[in-house]
C-alpha cells in the first residue's frame, strides 16, 4: 500500500479517525486508552488493545447476589410460564442465580440508547415495493365480493350462504388423534379435559 496520501485525503482521514475515537471513548466503562490527539492514528496499535470484553456481560462471580428477584417473584414468573416450581431450596438458589445472570445481561443490553428507534418485530421487506406487494386491495378480494349480493331498497350487501367452502388439505386430518382423552356422543366427538385437583 502506498504511504503517500495527499493533504486533502489526509485531513478527511483525520476527521474520520477523530470521530471514531470519540465514539469508542464514550462506550468504554472500565479502562480508557490514552486520549487521541490531533495526530495520525496508528491503526494497528489501536486494534491491539481490547476496549470491551464479553466478560462484561456476565455478573461478577465474587460480588454477592443481589436481591432484586425474591423467591415470591420467581414463583410468580414460573406460574405465568406454566413451569413447575422448584422442589428444593438448592434448586431454587440455582434458579435465582441463573435468573440473576440473565438479568445482568439484559441490563447491559438496555444501556444502548435506542431513542427514536422502532423495535424490530421481524425481518420483512419494508421497501415501498415490498409494502405495495402486501397491500390488500380490491383485486385480492375479487372472489369474496363475487359471493355477495345487494339486497333491498337499502342496497345493503349480504354474503350469500350455502356455498361449500373448499377446505381440502386443511380440515381432513385426524383431529382427535392427539387427544389425551376423548369421547364420542350423539352429537359428535369431543376432547375431554378434567379440571379437578389431581
Amino acid at each position: 500500500m502506498s504511504g503517500f496520501i495527499c493533504s486533502r485525503c489526509r485531513s478527511s482521514l483525520r476527521r474520520v479517525l477523530r470521530a471514531q475515537s470519540r465514539s469508542i471513548n464514550s462506550s468504554v466503562r472500565n479502562s480508557s486508552p490514552e486520549p487521541l490527539r490531533n495526530k495520525l492514528v496508528d491503526i494497528d496499535a489501536l486494534l491491539s488493545k481490547p476496549t470491551w470484553s464479553v466478560r462484561s456481560l456476565l455478573p461478577d462471580p465474587d460480588a454477592p447476589p443481589s436481591e432484586e428477584i425474591t423467591p415470591a417473584k420467581l414463583h410468580h414468573l414460573l406460574r405465568l410460564s406454566a413451569l413447575p416450581l422448584p422442589k428444593s431450596l438448592v434448586e431454587e438458589a440455582e434458579m435465582l442465580k441463573t435468573l440473576h445472570s440473565q438479568l445482568h445481561f439484559v441490563k447491559d443490553i438496555q444501556k444502548v440508547d435506542t431513542e427514536g428507534v422502532e423495535p424490530l418485530r421481524s425481518i420483512r421487506d419494508e421497501t415501498e415495493e415490498g409494502v405495495k406487494e402486501i397491500t390488500i386491495g380490491m383485486e385480492d378480494l375479487k372472489q369474496a365480493f363475487e359471493k355477495e349480493e345487494i339486497k333491498g331498497r337499502n342496497r345493503r350487501p349480504r354474503r350469500r350462504r350455502g356455498y361449500m367452502v373448499d377446505a381440502q388439505g386443511v380440515e381432513d386430518w385426524d383431529v382427535l388423534g392427539t387427544a389425551g382423552e376423548k369421547v364420542e356422543l350423539a352429537g359428535g366427538k369431543y376432547f375431554v379435559v378434567r379440571s379437578g385437583k389431581e
Partner: protein, 612 residues
C-alpha cells in the same frame, strides 16, 4: 310454571287470542287482539241493547279500559319511597361506564387458517392444524375477513389505520391451544370512531335527545374453543370455534346511565347486522359485552389519577364479565353502581377487580382480585406480516355500505309519515322484510291513486302493515312467520291486494270493519293457495258501503230522540254538549257502522229544533 304477563292473559280471556311470533324481538311493539270473524265480543260491563232506555247519561267503562287506567296510574306514581332514595344518591354520585363488545365476524373461513367457519356443525370437524397449535403449523392471514371488519369500522365512523399489526396475549386455558390469543393490542386497524344514540334508541331521559359516545378502537382477534361442562368437573371441548375472527369494540368511558349503556349495546348489534359484519346477536352468543363501572362524586373536584382514553378524574373501576343479554347489562351496571356507592359512603375503598354477574342475582360476584391479575405479556407476533389496507378497498366499502338504520328511520318518518316508534318496529320485523313489504304496498297504492300525498298514504298503509296484519291469526299459519314475509318483501297477502283494500277504505267505499274482514279472508286465501282479490271478495259478499238515505237518518234519529226525552229537554234548556251523546247512541244503534257522525248531528239538531 312461567309467569304469564297480564296483557297476554287479558287478550286470551277477552279476545280468544293466543300469543304468536317472536315475543323477544317485539317487546316494544304491542299487538292488539285479532278480530274474530264470527261472534261479537262484549267488552263492556253492560250488554248494549237495541233500545237504549236502560242506558243513563253515564256510559259504562269497559273492564279492559279500567285495568289499563289503573296500571297507568300506578306507573305514574312510581314505586314510591325507593325511587326517591335512589334519586338522592344519584344526585351526589356520577356513574361512568365503558363497554367492550366482542362480536363474531360474518366470514366463510377463520382468521388465520383456511378452515371454514361454522355455527352448529358437528364438533371438531372444522379444525386446521394451526387452530390446535400443532408444532410446526403457521398462521396464514385470511384476507376475506377484512371485508366485514372494515364494514363494521366504517359503520362506527372510525379512522381506518393503513397499517396494523398483530400481537400475542399470553394466558393458559384449555380453550386456548396455543397458550396465547392473537389480537391487535398495540396497533389496531381502526381508531377514534363514534356512535350517536337518539332518544328513540332507548337512552336515559337525562341524556336528552341524543348522545354521542366515542369509540376508542376496534381490533381483530381470535375466538376460543367451545366448552361444554359436565358434572364431575369434566369438560368437553369443541375446537370448531377456535380461531374464528372476532372484533373487539372498545368505547370511551362517556356513558353515564345504565339505560344508555343498554341502548348502546343494542344499537351496535343492530348496526353490525345492517352492514353484514356480525349477524349473530347476543341471544345466539355471537355478541358478548364486558362492562367497566366506576363512580365519582359530582360536587367535589376529582383528585384521582384514574383516566382512560383521555377521560380523566374517574373513580377506580371494576370490570364485569359474562354479560349475555341486554337486560343483564342494565341490571349488572345498576347493581355494581349501587354496591360501589355504598362501599364508598361507608368509608371503604373500591378494589380494581373483575366481577361476574348471573341473571337473577342482586349483586355482582368477585371473580378475581388484583393479586390474581393476569400478566398477559403482550408481544408483537413475529410470524404475521403487518396488515396493509389499500385505499381503493376502503373507498369501495364506504360507498357500498348501503342505507344504515338511522337514515332509514329518517326516510320512513319524513317521507312516509310514520312515527319513530312505528318506523323502528317496522325495520326490526322479519329481518327487514316487513319494511320492504310496506314500501311495496305504498308503491302499489300510489300506482292506483297517484294524487294522494305520500305521507298520508304512508301513515295509512303503515298502520295496516304493522298493526292490522300483525294481529292476524289463523290455524293454518305457521308460528314463526305467519304472514310468510320474505326478506324481499313478498307476503302471503300480495302487496297489490292490500294496497287496493286500503285504497277502498280511504275512499270510504268500505267501512273499517269490512276492511278488516276482507283482510282476514285474503289471509286465509293466501294460506290455502287460493287466488283472491280484494275487489273480488267485496263484490262476492256484497260489502260495498251503502250510506243511509235521508229517510233512514230521520227514522233512526226520531227513534233515539223518543227514547231519550229527558236528554232532549236538557238540550233545549241549553246543554248543547248532550247532542254528542245522542249522536253516539245513533252510531251504536246501527251496528253496521253506516252512520256518519256529522250528518247524524245535523239531523239530530234539525229534529230537536222541531221539538222547540
Amino acid at each position: 310454571m312461567a309467569r304469564i304477563p297480564p296483557s297476554v292473559l287479558r287478550r286470551y280471556l277477552f279476545g280468544g287470542h293466543l300469543p304468536t311470533g317472536g315475543c323477544l324481538r317485539q317487546v316494544r311493539h304491542c299487538r292488539p287482539t285479532a278480530h274474530s270473524l264470527s261472534t261479537k265480543r262484549y267488552h263492556g260491563t253492560q250488554v248494549p241493547s237495541a233500545n237504549t232506555e236502560s242506558a243513563g247519561p253515564e256510559t259504562t267503562i269497559p273492564f279492559r279500559k279500567q285495568l289499563k287506567d289503573e296500571a297507568k296510574k300506578r306507573k305514574a306514581e312510581g314505586t314510591g319511597k325507593k325511587s326517591k332514595q335512589d334519586s338522592q344518591k344519584l344526585d351526589s354520585w356520577e356513574l361512568t361506564v365503558g363497554i367492550e363488545i366482542h362480536a363474531q365476524l360474518n366470514t366463510a373461513r377463520k382468521l388465520f387458517s383456511a378452515a371454514s367457519s361454522s355455527i352448529n356443525d358437528a364438533p371438531n370437524t372444522h379444525v386446521a392444524l394451526f387452530d390446535v397449535a400443532m408444532p410446526g403449523s403457521q398462521p396464514t392471514f385470511q384476507k376475506e375477513t377484512l371485508i366485514p371488519a372494515l364494514r363494521a369500522a366504517l359503520a362506527l365512523n372510525c379512522e381506518i389505520q393503513k397499517t396494523s399489526r398483530f400481537d400475542r396475549k399470553h394466558y393458559f386455558h384449555w380453550d386456548q391451544p396455543a397458550g396465547y390469543q392473537i389480537t391487535q393490542y398495540y396497533e389496531p386497524f381502526a381508531r377514534d370512531g363514534h356512535i350517536t344514540l337518539f332518544s328513540h334508541d332507548g337512552i336515559a331521559a337525562e341524556d336528552g335527545e341524543q348522545v354521542k359516545i366515542g369509540i376508542k378502537q376496534i381490533q381483530m382477534e381470535q375466538d376460543t374453543a367451545k366448552t361444554i361442562s359436565q358434572p364431575g368437573e369434566i369438560h368437553l371441548l369443541d375446537f370448531n370455534r377456535v380461531g374464528l375472527p372476532l372484533i373487539e369494540i372498545i368505547t370511551l368511558p362517556q356513558i353515564h346511565h345504565p339505560s344508555t349503556a343498554t341502548a348502546l349495546v343494542r344499537k351496535i348489534q343492530l348496526l353490525l347486522n345492517a352492514v353484514d359484519a356480525c349477524v349473530l346477536g347476543m341471544q345466539s352468543g355471537g355478541l358478548r359485552a364486558d362492562v367497566n363501572v366506576s363512580v365519582r362524586r359530582r360536587d367535589s373536584p376529582s383528585t384521582s389519577s384514574n383516566s382512560y382514553g383521555g377521560v380523566t378524574g374517574l373513580g377506580q373501576r371494576t370490570e364485569i364479565k359474562n354479560l349475555s343479554s341486554f337486560k343483564a347489562v342494565e341490571d349488572a351496571i345498576i347493581a355494581e353502581r349501587d354496591r360501589q356507592i355504598s362501599v364508598l359512603e361507608n368509608g371503604g375503598v373500591i378494589e380494581g377487580e373483575t366481577r361476574g354477574w348471573t341473571i337473577g342475582s342482586t349483586e355482582t360476584k368477585r371473580l378475581r382480585g388484583k393479586e390474581g391479575e393476569v400478566d398477559y405479556r403482550y408481544m408483537p407476533d413475529p410470524d404475521l406480516a403487518p396488515v396493509v389496507i389499500g385505499d381503493d378497498l376502503i373507498e369501495h366499502l364506504q360507498s357500498t355500505l348501503g342505507v344504515l338504520p338511522d337514515e332509514e328511520i329518517l326516510i320512513l318518518t319524513k317521507e312516509y309519515g310514520l312515527t319513530t316508534k312505528d318506523a323502528m318496529s317496522l325495520i326490526s320485523l322479519n329481518e327487514g322484510g316487513r319494511v320492504e313489504y310496506f314500501r311495496n304496498v305504498v308503491d302499489e297504492y300510489l300506482a292506483i291513486s297517484s294524487e294522494e300525498p305520500t305521507e298520508e298514504v304512508g301513515k295509512l298503509c303503515g298502520n295496516w302493515v304493522l298493526h292490522e296484519m300483525g294481529g292476524l291469526a289463523n290455524d293454518l299459519a305457521d308460528e314463526e312467520n305467519p304472514l310468510k314475509i320474505t326478506s324481499k318483501g313478498d307476503s302471503v297477502i300480495p302487496a297489490k291486494q292490500l294496497a287496493q283494500l286500503v285504497q277502498f277504505l280511504s275512499l270510504k267505499k268500505i267501512t273499517g270493519r269490512t276492511a278488516k274482514k276482507v283482510l282476514s279472508e285474503l289471509f286465509e286465501a293466501g294460506l290455502t293457495g287460493k287466488e283472491e282479490t280484494a275487489q273480488g271478495i267485496i263484490e262476492r259478499e256484497g260489502l260495498w258501503f251503502r250510506p243511509l238515505s235521508d229517510a233512514e237518518y230521520d227514522d233512526l234519529a226520531r227513534e233515539i230522540l223518543d227514547g231519550n226525552t229527558k236528554v232532549v229537554e236538557e238540550i233545549l234548556a241549553g246543554k248543547e254538549g248532550k247532542i254528542n251523546f245522542l249522536v253516539g247512541q245513533m252510531m251504536r244503534a246501527d251496528q253496521d257502522g253506516r252512520v256518519d257522525a256529522t250528518k247524524a248531528r245535523e239531523v239530530v239538531r234539525k229534529l230537536i229544533e222541531e221539538h222547540r
